[in-house]
């Protein structure tokens, strides 16, 4: 084994012995995602960099996250994923529906709330309309049956009256 390798092994063992004890000195809180991204982009100020580095040095999971995120090579995403994700924001295009003006913007959340609250009301109204139509159709059907019965009854009487008399009468 070369001298350099031996020194490396000794140094690695030294760090293994020391790291957990060093980590017990402080619990670093996780910086926000934007600070982490800024670190990877090299846009963080020295204080911010020191904060992120302290966090990475104190936790395996933190360092794992940053090492995994440091390269951003994209991969083709499945079409099903894209379609599903695009469907997460649905309905009418709110961006074109909204009108400008400070007052309109002030009351815009109220409009959204009403839109949300009125959606179930819309479904209820549709269900009521269907029920009404069904009842109407049933009543019409029932009325129609009675009419037909009455007409049939009248026709029956007229036909009976117009029929020739019984064979007994004819023979007599």
């Amino acid at each position: 084994m070369s001298r350099e390798n031996k020194e490396n092994q000794e140094a690695a063992a030294l760090w293994v012995t020391a790291r957990e004890a060093w980590r017990q000195n402080g619990g670093e809180s996780a910086p926000d995602a934007l600070s982490l991204a800024a670190y990877l982009d090299g846009r963080l100020d020295p204080d911010g960099r020191a904060e992120v580095e302290a966090w990475m040095a104190a936790s395996d999971e933190a360092l794992d996250l940053m090492l995994a995120a440091r390269t951003t090579a994209a991969e083709a995403a499945p079409a099903a994923l894209v379609a599903r994700a695009q469907g997460l924001v649905g309905g009418a295009d709110r961006g074109t529906r909204r009108v400008g003006g400070p007052v309109a913007r002030l009351f815009a959340p109220l409009g959204d709330w009403f839109a949300g609250a009125l959606q179930p009301a819309g479904w209820a109204a549709s269900a009521a309309a269907v029920l009404l139509l069904a009842t109407g159709a049933f009543e019409l059907g029932r009325f129609g049956t009675q009419e037909i019965a009455a007409v049939e009854s009248l026709l029956g009487q007229e036909i009976a009256a117009s029929l020739p008399q019984t064979t007994d009468d004819l023979l007599l």
Partner: protein, 197 residues
């Protein structure tokens, strides 16, 4: 990749479905890659689509609350999305690990614990190593990075990494040597607050 949306997330945040659809089509590959980078080595590649969907859900829920926190002046959108995707994947793996196997289904033999050995407690004074020095040692010895690779990750010169590495090891060696000498001189009866307890 240039970030088309960096300068104008306005229409998307105003609720434009068309803008959201364009955003998803543009950044799904970035998010999917970020998620897979954590899930594939853990043997959970099949979960990638669902976890990526979860990332999009996080971005748009509560009226795009998370996305509104993004600031193009501070970081690139692709980098920020990669951080969000990677952390979502880590959370997913943590949840899977926690709920993967009920304790009752584990054979008792596997739950057996070796009798505890006498722990050797090491105390390192907080100011012995700076976080950056500790990070350099971690990258070189635990993550087995080359000096140049560690330098690139930390955004500093390779020579600075070598210098920090050297100083950190010198301090550790001196600390442990002092501990050893205080241990071998019991008559002193004082380790100065540092050393084995």
């Amino acid at each position: 990749m240039s970030d088309d949306f960096d300068d104008d997330l306005g229409p998307l945040l105003a609720g434009s479905k068309a803008a959201w659809s364009r955003f998803v089509a543009r950044y799904a590959p970035v998010i999917f890659a970020g998620v897979r980078r954590k899930l594939v080595p853990a043997g959970r590649a099949d979960d990638a689509e669902d976890v990526a969907q979860d990332v999009f859900l996080r971005l748009c829920r509560r009226d795009f609350h998370l996305l509104r926190g993004y600031d193009p002046a501070r970081a690139r959108l692709t980098t920020w999305l990669t951080i969000i995707a990677t952390s979502t994947a880590i959370d997913h793996l943590r949840r899977q690990k926690a709920g993967s196997q009920p304790l009752d289904s584990v054979p008792e033999a596997l739950l057996a614990v070796d009798p505890p050995k006498e722990p050797i407690k090491v105390v390192i004074p907080p100011d012995l190593l700076s976080p950056r020095q500790a990070l350099v040692l971690e990258l070189l010895y635990r993550r087995e990075m080359e000096v140049s690779e560690a330098a690139e990750f930390l955004g500093i010169e390779a020579q600075t990494v070598r210098s920090m590495h050297h100083k950190a090891l010198t301090r550790l060696r001196a600390h442990f040597a002092a501990e050893k000498s205080s241990d071998s001189a019991p008559a002193a009866g004082d380790d100065g607050g540092h050393g084995r307890v």
